[in-house]
Symmetry: C2
Subunit: 125 residues, 2 copies
């Protein structure tokens, strides 16, 4: 386990670059689910996310592609086939999110009561 003092030198300014992406409604969900498989198609990701609209998914995938967290591979077939997978950076990020996920799993029930239904900033899952 990491020594707490390992973190003391870290400044929130480190988050300046990645925060806009992390804080998007579906980003963590997509990164996490993508990490379960070698690669996924657009429709598959939509199914896993449940309530996401095609526009929202396309928006996030574009941003994740642009920032290099995922790679998009388009096969020249009919009907079209496109596959997405995490890059090395994406996989590292997913790993780094693991402890937060574990914490969330342990305490989720405590925070569910505070949550308002239909809240826009986070998925209903």
């Amino acid at each position: 386990m990491a020594d707490e003092s390992d973190y003391d030198h870290l400044c929130v300014c480190c988050l300046r670059g990645i925060m806009p992406t992390i804080a998007r409604k579906w980003t963590i969900c997509i990164v996490w689910e993508l990490g379960r498989r070698p690669s996924m198609r657009f429709k598959d990701i939509m199914k896993d996310c449940g309530e996401i609209s095609p526009k929202s998914l396309a928006d996030v995938l574009k941003e994740l592609s642009d920032t290099g967290l995922i790679e998009r591979i388009s096969y020249d077939e009919v009907p079209p086939r496109v596959e997405y997978h995490l890059t090395e950076h994406g996989r590292e990020l997913r790993e780094a999110l693991g402890p937060m996920m574990k914490w969330a799993k342990r305490h989720n029930h405590l925070y569910m009561s505070y949550r308002k239904p239909g809240f826009a900033r986070a998925p209903d899952l």
Copy 2:
């Protein structure tokens, strides 16, 4: 180091409760900075965050209080003095965010270029 397979059983639905709070513009910043000291006053947090408005800070502090991640102690003095500190849950959360912070520190420069100035969803720091 954690084995990657430790995370495979975790589902994004675990995030349902905490995500609305995590995804707020200033939440992580405040939790992280609060973790540096035993307790902090309203004005001190404002200074550390740099660009946050009193309303926004009050909003987030309220939410963090309601969800039990921080505790608010009001001393009956004139002029008023109020101190905030992380609860046990809050400290655990901060610890869980550590790996993400480390990842962010390593890769921040890569993502800064993608970031648009004045972006509303994340602080300018």
